[in-house]
Symmetry: C2
Subunit: 480 residues, 2 copies
């Protein structure tokens, strides 16, 4: 492990974080509601620390895979650790544990909050809170399309060939090129959503913040009532559409922008994702209409928003699904284990893995009939390598084991069984709202300190596809 | 599919069932509490139907793998369907749905009951209820050690080589030979336990019934208070020891009886099983002592019984773990997904699969460090074939998918989330008592009819290692 190289990149990240504070600073100066100094101080802390570390560790060593893993895990943690500072300095989130939870929730695009009164926060800090989503989302797209396929994490190598950019050789140039392309796509889509939201009557501030929350499948709102606050069908439709977009593989958007409009309907994962969303919306609409006697239009509106929001792991809400029937609540809980497409900003297990897991299930049963035949798993005519299948199954089972162990831990922190399970599902899957104590209208403030740190860890673990973090716990990893 | 052969075996099974009614009939005649006629009538129904089907379908066709699958699935169902009759005839369980649930629960060694007052049942029927456990347990040992390894179900082929009996060639002679050997072991252990329980003050009747419940890891008791009724440390210790024995691979007991005393400590699965039980007992003892301020001895007594009972999937109770802390309850819920060793009467996922799943998890992370290396999974020096690993992972994921889908269904039947999840975990894993509405001191009587049929199906599904039943739903299976 070349710690110099790792620290060097972390230093660069801190300088980048310092620069990104310029945006919330502008809003703070415009609205003048008392958070300017806390932002400026944090900016200085980041800039000084970053510059110091960066120049102290300059080296010409090449990035290797091991350093890549260390940078990803430590990078996200560093950004969250420093990003939490302004909340504490300003006093709107007095405890560092809470501030770290909130910022980690932002950078991991989770959207779980410890705030009881979001609207009491000054504009600059609210903007920073939402911006962490957007930055995190950007990071995730690059990570999942450019870095993880090379690192061979959890079946993501499936996408190795499909990624735009130069052929893989050394890590850095390839990553930079891909990042640039995806950055443009991400920025373009964000600009479009912001304009559309402003058409719906949102201020530039609210439109930007909610665009950040949508495009990153994050879920932080500037309002206590989340999207329900606006009570506008138009805004809900715009956000539903952009949540679906954010949950789609960004290399498809890239193809689309290059004129290949058909790329969506040729992509098996996207088709599954789209059909799955439709089926779930119909099912939940039916449930709301039949069990809650809600009129059909309203049922569809509520169902579409909540299903898309939870499946894409965004976490915006327009209805409190905790008041739904047991069956409805459970469907929402299970949707937390689905997630968006690979290469999207969505978290959780992800569509492609769900597809492979289901195909493998059917395959195993078929094999009993033909014990000596090799039945490969196909995805759109392409045969998936058995190693990749094992990889995906491995990811699925580790995800389940962490979910189970995490739920026990949260129960030991005193949460009831539903809240314990939902809090882990909602953080590990980067969704945000869960059920019970941490439901859509509640928040994470009442959880014990230890529990908050653990859940912050789960956000990171889920966001970075488990392996990227778990590998750091193998002693072998740190050996020369 | 040769339906003739299948029906022929089912006919034979019915004749066997008719004969096995002789035992409860004897107790009925001895105690004379009004169930004699209902037993005799059922015996006649089974005998007539069985003989009729058997002689009508006589053939010399050889059993093939497909027929094997059909016989296993349909055999268990037939036994339960006819075994339910005396309860309805007698009127102690007036509804056939309930009687079928109870009998399926018996034959699948689940131990889930719809009875609110067990002690009100006449002795003959109570004995039959417990006997279904014992017969089912015997069936499972033969199935898992002689039949499933040949059929290649869910990694059970691991045990192909270890099974006593002649080399595999055609199905029937091998199965018969193995069955005979295991029958002797099972009978011998049952005799020993019965004698030991009688030493503890139980009547022959109670001793036999509780032996059946223990050896089959079933859990039906003759008392409303389960084992807690006897309030005897001696009886609890005997039952704990025999639950552990029943959860052990019976080929190890066979080796032991042949003088190979060390076979237990050479078996990796048994070692893991034993250590796992000890660790869990210590953890739960600590929890009871520290959180519930129970004295250490009592904590240990409660912890040991409940942990062993749930892990081995027996389901006898001496304490209501629903009153434990959230963490304690959750540990019990998770133990429902462990199960005994393969080749035992225990149900659920089973130790060997848990071991392979855990090893595979660590392996996947290690692979990231050595992307091009082939790292095999070893179990006691033996390399597990990658196909077997995929098989086991497939089993694990299908188990989880059925658990999730089943929980949704039960929630749609109106159960709250905890009860819904626990009812599926407790039936799919053949445990019996769950949590919430179906906790240790409750029963399954209040569940809707449809829910009872579904749970009965889950008992069968779990008991027959999923695949054996799922294969029946593939259209290809039924083609010539």
């Amino acid at each position: 492990m070349n710690f110099r190289v790792v620290l060097n990149v972390l230093g660069a990240l801190l300088i980048f974080e310092a620069l990104s504070f310029i945006l919330p600073l502008s809003f703070s100066l415009y609205y003048r509601d008392g958070d300017t100094l806390s932002i400026v101080y944090t900016q200085i802390i980041c800039l000084v620390t970053g510059t110091f570390v960066f120049f102290l560790t300059r080296s010409h060593a090449e990035l290797r895979i091991r350093e890549g893993f260390a940078i990803v895990g430590l990078g996200w943690t560093t950004l969250a650790a420093f990003g939490a500072i302004p909340f504490v300095l300003h006093g709107s989130i007095p405890l560092y544990t809470d501030a770290f939870f909130e910022t980690m929730s932002g950078f991991t695009t989770t959207g779980a909050s410890i705030l009881t009164d979001i609207e009491s926060l000054p504009h600059g800090l609210l903007f920073w809170r939402s911006l962490t989503h957007w930055l995190g989302g950007m990071g995730i797209i690059v990570l999942s399309l450019a870095i993880l396929p090379i690192l061979g994490v959890g079946g993501m190598q499936l996408f190795k060939a499909e990624v735009p950019g130069p052929s893989p050789d050394k890590l850095s140039p390839r990553i930079k090129e891909t990042a640039k392309i995806l950055w443009v796509v991400y920025l373009l889509l964000s600009v479009i959503e912001t304009i559309l939201l402003m058409f719906g009557g949102m201020s530039l501030f609210d439109a930007l913040c909610h665009t950040f929350g949508t495009m990153a499948t994050g879920g932080f709102s500037t309002k206590n009532g989340s999207i329900g606050h606006f009570n506008s069908l138009y805004i809900e439709i715009v956000i539903i559409v952009f949540m679906v977009i954010a949950g789609t593989n960004f290399s498809l958007h890239y193809s689309m922008l290059r004129g290949n409009l058909k790329s969506y309907w040729k992509d098996r994962e996207f088709l599954f994702y789209f059909k799955f969303l439709l089926i779930m919306i119909v099912a939940v609409t039916g449930m709301l209409h039949l069990s809650h006697f809600l009129e059909l239009g309203k049922s569809l509106r509520h169902a579409a928003f909540q299903v898309v929001s939870i499946t894409t792991t965004t976490g915006y809400c327009t209805a409190d699904f905790e008041n739904w029937t047991n069956g409805g609540q459970l469907i929402m809980l299970l949707l937390m284990f689905v997630g968006g497409c690979a290469g999207s900003t969505g978290g959780s297990i992800k569509i492609i893995r769900i597809m492979i897991v289901l195909k493998q299930g059917v395959n195993e049963i078929r094999k009993l009939l033909h014990p000596n035949a090799y039945i490969p798993i196909r995805l759109g005519g392409r045969v998936i390598h058995p190693d990749t299948v094992t990889n995906v199954l491995g990811f699925f089972l580790i995800y389940m084991l962490i979910f189970a162990a995490g739920t026990v831990c949260m129960a030991l922190f005193g949460l009831d069984l539903i809240s314990a399970g939902a809090s882990v599902a909602a953080t590990l899957g980067n969704i945000g709202p869960g059920l019970g104590q941490v439901g859509p209208t509640d928040n994470y403030s009442a959880i014990a300190h230890g529990g908050k740190w653990l859940l912050s860890f789960f956000m990171l673990l889920g966001r970075l596809e488990l392996y990227t973090i778990l590998i750091l716990f193998i002693p072998e990893f740190w050996k020369k």
